[in-house]
Symmetry: C2
Subunit: 214 residues, 2 copies
Amino acid sequence: MRLAELSRRSGVATATIKYYLREGLLPPGRQVNTTTAEYDETHLRRLRLVRAMIQVGRLPVATVREVLGHVDDDSLGRTIRLGAALWALPQVPEPDEDDEFVRAAHREAEELLDRLGWSNAKLLTSISPAYRSLVVAVAAFRRLGYDRDTELLASYAKLMHETAKLDLDFVETHPSEAEKVETAVLGAVLTEPMLGALRRLAQEEESARRYGFE
Amino acid sequence: MRLAELSRRSGVATATIKYYLREGLLPPGRQVNTTTAEYDETHLRRLRLVRAMIQVGRLPVATVREVLGHVDDDSLGRTIRLGAALWALPQVPEPDEDDEFVRAAHREAEELLDRLGWSNAKLLTSISPAYRSLVVAVAAFRRLGYDRDTELLASYAKLMHETAKLDLDFVETHPSEAEKVETAVLGAVLTEPMLGALRRLAQEEESARRYGFE
């Protein structure tokens, strides 16, 4: 398809598509003559991914470029390729390892992984931003004087494991390895707000069931 | 306790506590003479809540004041009091009702609530920010060409209902009505990042189980 059709089918203005092409977020089309290039379904898919990261995820162009570099790196196995792409997304700041609450949170997080039998996740604790995010979140609870027991944390973790299975099942419905990785990145950007909304709706439903509306 | 002890026990600087007192985020202590006031456990708890909203949730002071107004309004029943406090937290922008994807997302969200039997949540769709957030999130998926079926959305919603039950069970472990509402607000600010971290960790664990590390 020509640029005009790519614009029409994607809903992205041609000026914006040209900007993405200049910034290397979209691979060049196949040049058919000096003024015309042909684009295909892979361009449409890539455009969708770039828009999700920029418009919904509000990521800066440099971050989008880094994520796409990992998405396109087919020298990596799937777990590492997924991990590299997702880990390039913005993360929480590093926890302050001198803080007593952070140290306690590390112990609690490691105990949690043991209790859950998440031995693979445990191998990644020194490099995983997800593990660091958990430590920061648990430290915030402890700093405010909430000692939620590991039992409760484990119950939440098991439910999140069920959502992760749904996430990966959906990723697996896509045929090519490139589409799988793209879908995982889209899921990371789009699914979190959706789950947050569903959880708050569920709280309203459950609260009304337990206490009524008065 | 005196101001110095309130500062020590809460970990909040006395200058910051005085600022919160001036801004009305913390009720005044009991005046024991012209220069000294006495504070109690309710001040400590309120300080914890204010810090969570300002430091972790990064809410502006005006929003914190509005949320606290609902927390303290004991003329309301529990569901409405919880709702009013949580709805005062920052929400997604209003969906654009003229957008075709938003209209499709409304239909999909209503169909989802019917399928789940969330009749209470359905009564609140015209006023609930959680419902609007869901419509915005579903519209984002549709705009990018993802027609995830309602079946998958329902599976996620059921898991979020289980987390909402854990949330409310935890809220109910607190004795007084005021503490219950405070805990619900804290949970809204602190639990979301924790669930996000657990979900990403679970994805790493599940991905490694399915595909290994190579």
